[in-house]
Amino acid sequence: MSVRRVAILLGKDFKYGSKGFVFILAIVAPILISLVLNLVFGTFFSQTAKLGINDQGNSRLVDLVSASDSVQTRTYASADDLKKAVEVGAVDMGVALPGNFDEDVLSGNSIVLPAYVWGESLAKNRGILLATINSAVRQLAGQEVPVHIETTTLGDTQSVPWSDRLLPLVLLVAVAMGGVMVPASLMVDEKQKRTLTALAITPATLGDILAAKGLMGVILALVMSIVILLMNQAFGVQTGLLMIVLGLGAVLAALFGLVLGVLIKDITTLFATIKGIGILLYAPVFVYMFPQIPQWIGKIFPTYYIVQPVVEISQQGGSWSAIATDVFILIGLDLILIGVVVFVLRRTKQFAV
């Protein structure tokens, strides 16, 4: 195998293959799906009350309100900016704190604090914001809370937000579209257009051709996985470990794509096959979507070992010890698939025609 020839073939695939429908779909589909899911289940439509503050002094109230989980706080440089933000609905309510606000509160002087309220703000948000401002002012004034509130969470299931439950699905779409579909469709396309036969009479070996297509799948799957994790703010802190796991997952997907590409002769059969085995590819995500399903069911499917370490690192802050077993299984699966690719290649010598 020649590295130079693989690089040339890879460059050619990027130049011409990137104009193909499957390539574009592999980039657009995961991003669109992620956007839509974020819109529906994510923080984009979060109804947490938003408070805008223009602090003309250096009031402690800003810190006190910002520390509260009940509201999102944004600060504005001028009263005009604050008013504009309220008018367009960027915040539900805006208050401009005068320069000597803290001193007036501590000395008990009567203060009228003008507040702008966005017309479309929900009644509950207005109530929460007023109560939060009042609570902060009371803290500032040193008033003691007259009540002790004991909170208890009822029910024995841990609540996992839907945005977290759906991340494995989007991640697998990115890996499957880029890693499986792209190399497979490139191979099939070469066969259908008979350019593979033309390549066979050049010094490029079948190994070079497969390596180039596989690399293309690995790069695309890796890049799209990173994009999806970044979009979902789920990159975690173990960047190096995450990249290794994503890389191994991308290799697994690309190898599977090559097997399909070698065995299948036309694009219709490829789409039909992908549709047919789609349930096997995406089955593990149901374990994450519905935690009631026993975890062991997910472990039956190979793609589980791509998703689980990523979820462990990005969402649960897991370290190497937590994912080591899954990563070794992933490496094992990679090795098995390399063997399968070699075996299929040897058995299917006539694959170019």
Partner: protein, 351 residues
């Protein structure tokens, strides 16, 4: 221009369009899907925090909870309250002990037991705690020297909030229009590549007639679907004439953009490659309606802003001609620019 020929070409184009299974399927499926999405989404906005309360002696301040955005439902027992919270009927449940008021009045610290469901978001748990503390302050007569004086900017929508599905209407209308743009662009580019357009031009069909046919076909495809969608979802209940005018102008605009996309495309995949970025950019103003405050004034540079704003204002706020004439006028201006640009660029390619 021979209108008989134009009519024949339009009829042929419709046949060809629906012969492309991808676009034919997307056209029908998408329309049905959008209608389903609309009707599946909640038709009401939940403006209050619903809480269960078990209080053998109800503190007077809790009777004024409505003004704080709380809706309290009295329970007969603590067990009933816990079951209701576990069952997800309420975000939280508050148990007020019988001696709560006595303790507050004697200057002692009272105690409240608050139960949350596992699905109650943390920020709401915190909000409910803050609201209850504030009510306790008021109950003990601890007034504040700071009085917040609210001024509502814009129309006060408390009690008449717009449900998310109605905010979504303009976005779906834009997507419907844009999908048709992709279909039209694909049809034209396949004709250019197949050289059937050149063949047509050696018949009595003129280039003006050709563009007239494509324009009518593109506008009718996009307009009829968007109109159908708005009619089915009740989007035409208020100011139907303004909405129809806005959709028609929007359909003309996307047809012009469709000509531009077709001029740079060779087949369906390049149509997608050019068309999707255009679709995403034109959808941005609709995001501003869905999540107010997320886009700034630069959004007004995107032509679809004037379509989205007109449809949103007319359908949800009953805005009239006097409020929206400038939107429609700017939209008309964009129509002229895009159709002229599209015809010029595509015309050059055909020649």
């Amino acid at each position: 221009m021979n209108w008989q020929i134009v009519r024949a070409l339009i009829a042929k184009d419709f046949k060809l369009y629906f012969r492309n299974r991808f676009f034919a399927l997307i056209t029908v499926l998408a329309l049905v899907a959008y209608v389903v999405i609309y009707f599946v989404m909640p038709s009401m906005v939940d403006e209050t925090l619903e809480m269960a309360v078990y209080a053998p002696v109800l503190p007077p301040i809790l009777e004024q909870a409505g003004s704080q955005g709380l809706e309290l439902v009295l329970m007969e027992s603590e067990e009933q309250l816990k079951e209701a919270v576990i069952g997800g009927e309420y975000l939280a449940g508050v148990v007020v002990p019988p001696d709560f008021m006595d303790k507050l009045m004697s200057g002692e610290k009272g105690r409240l037991d608050v139960y949350f469901g596992t699905d109650t978001p943390e920020e709401l748990q915190d909000s409910i705690t803050v609201l209850l503390e504030e009510m306790a302050y008021l109950q003990t007569g601890q007034m504040l020297s700071v009085h917040v004086s609210p001024e509502v900017l814009g129309r006060d929508m408390v009690g008449i909030q717009i449900p998310m599905r109605d905010r979504l209407l303009p976005m779906l209308a834009v997507i419907i229009l844009m999908m048709e743009m992709l279909g039209l662009a694909s049809l034209i580019s396949s004709e250019v590549v197949g050289r059937t357009v050149q063949a047509l031009l050696i018949t009595p069909m003129t280039i003006r007639g050709l563009f007239a046919a494509k324009l009518i076909m593109g506008v009718s495809l996009a307009f009829v679907q968007a109109l159908l969608f708005m009619a089915v979802t009740g989007g035409l209940n208020q100011q139907p004439l303004i909405i129809i005018a806005a959709l028609l102008l929007g359909a003309i605009m996307v047809t012009g953009i469709g000509f531009l996309v077709a001029s740079g495309s060779k087949e369906m995949t390049t149509v997608m490659a050019w068309g999707f970025p255009a679709l995403i950019v034109l959808s941005v103003p609709a995001f501003g309606v869905l999540a107010p405050g997320t886009v700034s004034d630069w959004v007004k540079a995107i032509p679809s802003y004037y379509l989205v704003d007109a449809v949103y204002q007319a359908a949800n706020f009953n805005a009239g001609w006097s409020d929206l004439w400038n939107n429609l006028l700017i939209l008309l201006g964009f129509d002229i620019v895009f159709v002229w640009l599209g015809i010029t660029v595509l015309g050059r390619k055909l020649r």
